[in-house]
Amino acid sequence: MKFDRRSILNWFLGGSTFAWLGSVIYPVLRFLSPPPEQEAAVSSVKATTLTEMEPNSGKVFKFGRKPAILVRRPDGTFVAYLAECTHLDCTVQYRSEKEDIWCACHNGVYDLNGTNVSGPPPRPLDALEVHTQGDDVYVTQKS
């Protein structure tokens, strides 16, 4: 191997090209491989499973950036709503002893159709759709 200026220069050029290319290709490869965290679903969320959720129970979960409530009625069917109380936006909860949805802030009460039946709330809860697929229960935007 010759160690004259020309070949040193070529080695230097090749080496720095290689290193620089690495600093470009590395981010590209990292980008293309799927990240461990999946995207926060905004239009469809798997909220629970049939085995996990018993009849006459409720669950508050995240739907996009908002809280939502899924209720499994005593007869086994599901309903889901956005869990923001229509009065002053507190997060509502399910009351299994009354089989209704209740807001602890000012005693607002909704029935399981989401209708505001008592207390300050001026409007019903915003409804969401529920689909079951096998054992999984999905909540989606109302179409």
Binding site: L13, S16, A19, W20, S23, H87, C90, N107, P121, P122
Partner: protein, 414 residues
């Protein structure tokens, strides 16, 4: 021919578009005179629900509505009563509104216990003793332009109730002979309830005078009743309080539960200072520094203080990260969850129990910690980006040097 036709058209058009004239509403000949007098009765009558229900002037005042001549209309035998006295008013209104069969056939959804309740009220009791300066039906509902309660122009529409009650109760001169304060209306307008009703127009949610004092049976609630009354809306707070160690103590000492700390009419936003171990503090009214209650209050204050400081820290941190262009929505979500938790914690105060509060505080701290973690992670990520850029730039500079030298070694241009 066309001219007559045209005039007929115009006349019928006018007739159709004009307001229902006084002659069409029940009142007969009474209104013929009274619409010309200055008393304004005929005009008010246009808006009265009773008029549209087919009740005429004679329904309350008696007299003969078929007589044009006023003397004949009011002669003996017609049952004419003229202007009713206070005692006559309640019997006149109550005579129909308290009659089950009568109301069932006209408006079954209306209550029929107004007179009965009124008799139990302070107003009713005083009137029974002969005091005519108290409120009776007409004082609040007015006499001739009685509107439905859910008509926004009605003096008993939710938003108008405080002013209606205040008409007398805030008039110091009028109330001079009665031994009660007259600052309720002013206090109420400064309160959270008053602002919610009068400024934010929350007619469904915010209480007016009648929601706590009752409508027709208006009376200040007894001490025993206070938790239940506040609890009709603040159900959870009432439940916690009644289950707390304070409830039996308050009962024993005849303290007015919620009112003892929150006040009656001037109910304002609570601040953490209330719990402070300072002379003005709410707990200090009964507790001495160092006793169990005082210690709990101090625990509350310290805990909320540190939670608030964490919120400040989170706010600063996330703002810093955001200014650098980093995405902090996840941190904001955790912070929001912590805020909801804090709101719940403030309600949990009413349990006056340290273990109960500790559980909630753990929940809040977890969310706050998660928010801080997001903020710090984003700041670190930004620094990582800068570091990555520096490395990449250095490599580029090396490469640039190499290429520049290489260019120099190229054969010269000729």
């Amino acid at each position: 021919m066309t001219k007559v036709f045209a005039w007929a058209l115009i006349a019928s058009g006018l007739a159709l578009t004009s307001r229902v004239s006084a002659e069409e509403l029940p009142g007969g000949k009474c209104l013929e005179c009274h619409s010309t007098l200055e008393d304004g009765v005929a005009e008010l009558w246009q808006d009265d629900v009773h008029a549209y229900a087919g009740i005429g002037c004679d329904g309350c005042h008696g007299g003969d509505p078929t007589q044009e001549d006023s003397d004949l209309a009011k002669r003996r035998g017609t049952g004419y009563r003229g202007k009713l006295s206070a005692q006559e008013i309640i019997l006149s209104c109550g005579g129909c509104h308290g009659d089950i069969e009568y109301m069932k056939s006209r408006n079954p959804s209306l209550p029929i216990d107004q007179l009965e309740k009124y008799r139990t009220s302070v107003h009713g009791k005083l009137l029974a003793k002969g005091e005519t300066r108290v409120a009776q039906c007409v004082s609040c509902h007015h006499a001739h332009g009685v509107r439905a309660v859910n008509d926004a122009k009605s003096p008993v529409y939710a938003e108008n109730v405080p002013a209606t009650c205040g008409h007398c109760h805030a008039d110091a001169e009028y109330m001079a002979d009665f031994d009660i304060p007259t600052n309720q209306y002013e206090d109420y307008t400064q309160s959270v309830h008053g602002k919610a009703l009068l400024e934010k127009h929350d007619v469904r949610g915010a209480p007016a005078c009648n929601d706590c004092h009752g409508n027709h049976g208006a009376a200040p609630p007894s001490i025993d009743a206070i938790s239940n009354i506040c609890g009709t809306c603040h159900a959870y707070n009432a439940e916690l309080f009644l289950g707390s160690p304070l409830a039996p103590e308050f009962k024993e000492k005849s303290l007015a539960d919620c009112v003892a700390c929150h006040g009656k009419h001037l109910i304002t936003h609570v601040s953490d200072d209330w719990l402070a171990d300072e002379p003005g503090g709410a707990c200090r009214k009964c507790h001495e520094t160092g006793d169990e209650g005082s210690d709990l209050a101090v625990y509350y204050v310290d805990t909320f203080g540190s939670i608030q400081r964490s919120f400040d820290e989170i706010g600063d941190l996330l703002a810093r990260a955001e200014r650098k262009g980093m995405d902090v929505t996840e941190g904001e979500d955790y912070s929001e969850a912590a805020r909801q938790g804090l709101m719940q914690a403030r309600t949990l105060i009413h349990a006056f129990s340290k273990p109960v509060m500790e559980e909630k505080v753990t929940d809040i701290s977890q969310n706050q910690a998660a928010a801080l973690e997001v903020g710090y992670a984003q700041l670190k990520a930004f620094d990582d980006r800068r570091r990555g850029l520096t490395i990449s730039t250095l490599l580029l500079l090396l490469l640039t040097l190499g290429v520049a030298i290489k260019i120099r070694t190229l054969p010269p241009l000729d």
